[in-house]
Structures are given as structure tokens and as C-alpha cells.
């Protein structure tokens, strides 16, 4: 036996660790397999002539691809750019972390920065500095969270119950998507109904192809939209069948119907789609962020999102993911900051990956957190799921950091799951959709996932889903159905959500509805962090709520749980 063939017991133990199931690769800058530091990224620079940017990051206007042109003409403030670009990157980074510089001070500079300059700024920062900066630059003062509610069988009853539970646990936005796309109308209705069963004012969306997603929004079956993807190179943008102009038009289309929306992008998508033009993942993502800004969209879902395996595999990849969240926030966009798609087999690594967003707080810490077990998550799993609820609540309590959730006693959860399913039963009956049986309601009340539920008649459901579209069912019909079934409070709450589109208040940056149905956005809840003792800190009733866990013992009587 040779020494090389013999493995130590320690190596054997380490080989068994879940982290070694994760994928890691060497950097390869030529194809864009590099997080944020590629020798092929351009040098920062800008030249303005007669009020027009004629050179951007070393490229003359005649050679601009369509992203360069859109960013130069719509995202960068021509009046501010030369002065802002003259500031050394490290000084801008200092501005970001210095609590005496306000968020507004940073925005006065960031509005004039080019993609390469923004990259240069964050390259001077380590993750702790980036978290400091994110704490100040988050647009909305109060952080929030978003959940996924999906079903491996596209079961609307399950989606309604999980939506209700997620809503009661504190999520302010809920997102669904489908295994079988034709199921969308029924599942979107279920999400809308379930959301209002928990706490009022939770906003819902259904991730679909762009045009279909808009149609559901226009009908009031969903309340907002998020999966409006943008990409960092021209060929990949075209492969996504869009351009910055088509996406800008789509943004206005949503606003014209009073519907909140944000774009989606993330590091790694270009290299995954095979055309990164040899640029770093973060440089390309910064171009996406500035396209979003230029289109006049209020916010962005980023943080690699469905490509997290790509930055996750290269050195400093998770630092780059934090940097993209920071840059979205520092150019004054709402940031729904990822922590969604499954990322690692290692529990340690899953937590380490989410702390940079959880600790400073973002507009939506997850986009989203899976409200189901992993097997039911139709977004290919999430970094955190229903089985992590208690861990999340403990993290919040340990660190006194607000991740938007709370512990809810089982009896309340059962009640709200049951109520959501019964409300959906009533709405389906009102709309002439396939019946939901009492047996299904009983099962979903106590279920963990779709395996615990009786199967539905999928063919009948799909026929009904088509009829929802053909008959022109709208959000108003759901309101009437809820009222007819005796769920008047939920009917009121949903009508309040629909009425929001008349006022347009939710169209502003980082807007959410509170459980009291008040609009909270960067306009009336501006982040005012200015160092220790300032900004959002969980206190009062919210902190008392965060102290509660599944098992907390009485200080007076260790035998007694106070829950």
C-alpha cells in the first residue's frame, strides 16, 4: 500500500461534508467566468460634447452597442457625469460608508457614474464595507421580504394555503410560477385569494412570459410584476427576445395600467447564455442595472437570481452578488435582493450567502423565500424554504435584525390555511370553476407539501383555466366571489389592493402596502440611516414580536413555555 492511495480519516470526513457537493471552478476571464475583476473590463471614462455622451468607458459613440447607447442617453445624468467621474473611485467608496455623508449625497454622485466606474468603486470595498453602504443606500427605510408560493402539481388549493401562511408570517410580496403554464390563471387567482387571508395588503405576482404576465396584471388577477428580464450584452438581450427599448416600452405599459413592476437581472446570466464578451459578471450586471434606471423602472430584482450557481462557483462570486445589490441601491432603485434560487448543499454556506442582505436589510431580503418544502418550489428551489422558518426567526432574534418574518403559533396557521382554502372554494364556485372538496380543504390545512394533498382533476382544471381567460375574468370578479362566499374582509382587502392602481401610489420606488393598507415607499419612508442610533432598528411592538419563537421558556418557571 502506498501513502498516496491511503486517505486520512479526516479527509474521508471532509469528503462527506455537503459543501463538497457544490461546484467550484477556476476563473476563465476570456469567456466571462470571473466575478468582478477581469483584465478585459473597460477602463472608466466619459466624454460629453454638446450635451451628449460621445465616449463611454473608452468606447466612441459610433461603436456603442445598444446597451451603451441606452445607458449613455437615458441612465447617466449628462450634467453631472464629468464632475462625478473626476472623483477617485476610492473617495466615492468612502462616501458610501461614511455615515456623515447622506444617501442623497451619494445619489448626487452616482447619477453621473458609468458602468466601469461603478465597478471600480465596489472593487475597492470588502463585504463588510459593502454591507455598511447597503444599510444606508437601501431606498425604503423599513426592510421587507418576499416569498415564493408554488406547487409541484400546480395545485391551486396548496398555493392559496401557503400564500395565506406566508402572508401571516410577514411577507409583503408573494410570487408564484407554474410547472404547466396553462394552469397560470387558476394558480394566480389562488395566490391572490390566499394572500389576503393572512394579513391584508400583500401584493402578488405570477412569473410568466412577458406578454402573458402583463395580461394577467391588466386583468387585476395579479398585483405587480417582476420577471421582466434584462441582460448585459447585446446578443444575450436579443436571445431573450427583447431590447432596452422594448423593455422600456413594457415598463410604461405597466405604469399605464397603474401596475407596480420591477426588472430582473443578475450576475452570471450572460456567461450561462454563452455570450459574455469576455467581461466580468459584475460589469455586465452593472449595465443591466443602468438599463433599468434608464428605462424609468422603479426597481430591480438582482443578486444573480436563477444563475447563482455561476458566481457561486468562482472566487469572490458571493462578494460580487452583494456588490450588485449595493449598486442597484446606490443608483436609487428598489432592490429585491435574491437569496432565492437554491445555491448550496451546505447549511453553513446557505446562511453565509444570505447574511450580507439580511444584516444591512434590503427592500426585499429574499426574492423569494420558498414558502413550501424544496420539492414544491417551481423556481428550482430556494436558498431558504418553509423548513427554515424557525431558523430564520431565531437569526432575527439572536442578532436583532429584521428579516421581515415572525413566529406564528400553529393554531393560527391552521386557521388561516383553512380559511384561505375555504375562500378559494367559494371563489371557484362563484366563477364556475372545478369544485374544491372539503377533503382537499382538510388536507391542505395540515399539509406540508403537495404530496400530502389529494390530486386534482388536472384536465378539468386546465379547461377551467382557459375559460378564465376566454371569459375575461378580472380581479373584480374575485372580489365579488369572496363577498358572495362570506369572506367580506378579504373582499375588502383585495378591493383595496385593486384600488391602488387608480392612485398610482404603488408605482413609486420600493412601494409596499402595510397590513393597515397604507403605502410605504422611498417617498414617504425614505431611508434616513446616518450612523449609530439612526435609521431603521427593530424596536417596540415589532421587537417584542421578534422575541417570540416556537420554544421559549419562562424566566420564572423553566418548565413553562411562553411561545
Amino acid at each position: 500500500m502506498t501513502t498516496s492511495a491511503r486517505r486520512s480519516k479526516r479527509t474521508e470526513a471532509l469528503e462527506q461534508r455537503p459543501v463538497n457537493l457544490d461546484g467550484f471552478v477556476e476563473e476563465w476571464p476570456e469567456v466571462g467566468m470571473v466575478a468582478m475583476d477581469s483584465p478585459y473590463d473597460p477602463e472608466p471614462g466619459v466624454r460629453v460634447e454638446n450635451g451628449v455622451i460621445v465616449e463611454l468607458d473608452g468606447k466612441p459613440r459610433a461603436e456603442f452597442d445598444f446597451l451603451d447607447q441606452f445607458i449613455a442617453d437615458h441612465a447617466i445624468d449628462v450634467e453631472a457625469t464629468e464632475q462625478a467621474m473626476a472623483i477617485p473611485a476610492v473617495d466615492i467608496a468612502h462616501l458610501l460608508i461614511d455615515p456623515r455623508a447622506t444617501r442623497k449625497d451619494v445619489l448626487a454622485v452616482s447619477r453621473g457614474l458609468t458602468p466601469a466606474k461603478l465597478l471600480e468603486v465596489v472593487k475597492t470595498m470588502n463585504v463588510v464595507e459593502m454591507m455598511m453602504a447597503l444599510q444606508k443606500m437601501r431606498a425604503r427605510r423599513t426592510p421587507a421580504n418576499q416569498a415564493h408560493a408554488t406547487s409541484a402539481r400546480d395545485n391551486p388549493v396548496q398555493v392559496a394555503a401557503d400564500a395565506a401562511e406566508a402572508s401571516l408570517r410577514g411577507f409583503r410580496e408573494l410570487e408564484t410560477t407554474l410547472g404547466v403554464v396553462r394552469y397560470a390563471p387558476l394558480v394566480a387567482i389562488a395566490l391572490q385569494v390566499g394572500a389576503q387571508a393572512g394579513t391584508p395588503g400583500v401584493l402578488t405576482q405570477c412569473a410568466l412570459e412577458e406578454a402573458t404576465e402583463l395580461e394577467l396584471g391588466m386583468r387585476g388577477i395579479t398585483a405587480y410584476a417582476e420577471t421582466i428580464s434584462v441582460y448585459g450584452t447585446e446578443p444575450v438581450f436579443c436571445d431573450g427576445d427583447d431590447t432596452p427599448w422594448s423593455k422600456a416600452f413594457l415598463a410604461s405599459a405597466y405604469a399605464s395600467r397603474g401596475i407596480k413592476m420591477r426588472f430582473t437581472s443578475g450576475t452570471g446570466s450572460e456567461v450561462q447564455m454563452g455570450n459574455a464578451e469576455g467581461k466580468s459578471m459584475l460589469y455586465l450586471e452593472i449595465r443591466c442595472i443602468l438599463v433599468t434606471k434608464g428605462a424609468g423602472v422603479q426597481g430591480l430584482q438582482n443578486g444573480s437570481i436563477s444563475c447563482i450557481g455561476v458566481p457561486g462557483a468562482v472566487p469572490a462570486g458571493i462578494r460580487a452578488v452583494l456588490a450588485e445589490n449595493l449598486i442597484a441601491s446606490m443608483v436609487d432603485l428598489e432592490c429585491a435582493s435574491g437569496n432565492d434560487q437554491s445555491f448550496s448543499h451546505s447549511d453553513m454556506r446557505r446562511v453565509a450567502r444570505l447574511l450580507p442582505q439580511l444584516l444591512p436589510g434590503t427592500d426585499f431580503v429574499c426574492s423569494g423565500y420558498s414558502s413550501t418544502p424544496n420539492y414544491d418550489n417551481m423556481f428550482a428551489g430556494s436558498n431558504v424554504d418553509a423548513e427554515d422558518y424557525d431558523d430564520w426567526n431565531v437569526l432575527q432574534r439572536d442578532l436583532q435584525v429584521d428579516g421581515g418574518l415572525r413566529h406564528v403559533p400553529e393554531a393560527e396557521l391552521l386557521a388561516v390555511r383553512n380559511r384561505a382554502a375555504r375562500a378559494l372554494q367559494g371563489v371557484f364556485a362563484h366563477l364556475g370553476l372545478p369544485p374544491i372538496t372539503d377533503k382537499e380543504i382538510e388536507a391542505v390545512t395540515y399539509a406540508h407539501g403537495s404530496k400530502d394533498l389529494p390530486p386534482r382533476d388536472v384536465l378539468e382544471d386546465l379547461k377551467a383555466a382557459q375559460s378564465v381567460m376566454d371569459r375575461g375574468v378580472t380581479g373584480l370578479d374575485i372580489v365579488k366571489g369572496l363577498d358572495a362566499a362570506g369572506f367580506t374582509d378579504m373582499a375588502h382587502s383585495l378591493l383595496a389592493v385593486l384600488r391602488q392602481r387608480v392612485s398610482g401610489d404603488l408605482l413609486h420606488t420600493s412601494a409596499i402596502l402595510t397590513p393597515e393598507l397604507e403605502t410605504l415607499s422611498a417617498v414617504n419612508d425614505t431611508n434616513d440611516y446616518a450612523g449609530p442610533g439612526t435609521g431603521y432598528r427593530p424596536s417596540g411592538a415589532r421587537w417584542e414580536e421578534m422575541k417570540r419563537l416556537r420554544h421559549v421558556v419562562s424566566a420564572q418557571n423553566p418548565e413553562q413555555e411562553v411561545g
Partner: protein, 157 residues
Amino acid sequence: MQRPCNVTPLTVPGVTTPSQVDLDPGRDYPLAARRPELLKTPTGKRIDELTMEAVLAGEVAPEDLRIAPETLRLQARIAEQSGRPQLAQNFRRAAELTALPDELVLSIYNSLRPRASTKQQLTDIADELESAYSATLCAALVREAADVYERRNILAS
């Protein structure tokens, strides 16, 4: 189906236009709570008329749950005053698009996809936006796209 519309804001004596309303984001936002008197649906209803009772009495139609162009222009001013000029511009384009039927909005979006339209087709869309809907900002966006698509060779061949 395309139909002309007549919602172009006109300055009528005695009628306040969005640009004349005194607005302060700190004082007046959210409009639904702070300045409900400024909010009307495109069908002319006040926001406080959109009650549950009215819904159940069949007095609220889906068209009543839409935003009016005047409201978008008010929100544009709030965005502008909050230091968000691009967001404001988006709201102004949106104000123009309120006049377009859903199908036309979707079809213009599809026409703007890469290699979906010739330059002439995009120019025709821009002309129609301007002449039939007074949508000058949206028309400018489409014309700009036509020029860029030509230069970057992503027009339909």
C-alpha cells in the same frame, strides 16, 4: 382594433390641470390618503366612490380600476421632485399609453422586439402613436429604437 381617442389634456379655463396643482411629496404622498380629491378614474369616478357597496351593486367595472393620465402626470411630478427624473419620464409615457387599448399596447411591445419589424413598420407605429393618440413621448421612444435597431442591424429583414 385601433380607435382614436379624445383624452388629450386640454387647458380649459376654470379646470385645474396636473401641472397647475400645488404638490409637495412630503405633504401630499400617498395621494390616495392625502389628496384623494385629486384622483379620478378615467371613467370620471372619484376614488372614494370605488366602494364595496358600489362593486356589489354592479356600479364598478374593470375600466373603473384603471389609472387616469392626469394621475400619472401628478405622480410624475412627485417622482421628479423626489429626484427621479427617469421614473417621472416613464410615468409621462405611461400617461400617453392609458389611451391605447390593451391589444394595441401588447402589439407595439411585440413590434419592438429584436428583428420583429422593419424600419418602416416602426416609423408607422410612431406616426400612429403621435397622430391618433398624441403620444409624442412614446413615438419618440419608438423612433429612437428604429434608428438604433438599424445601426445595430436588428431590424426585420
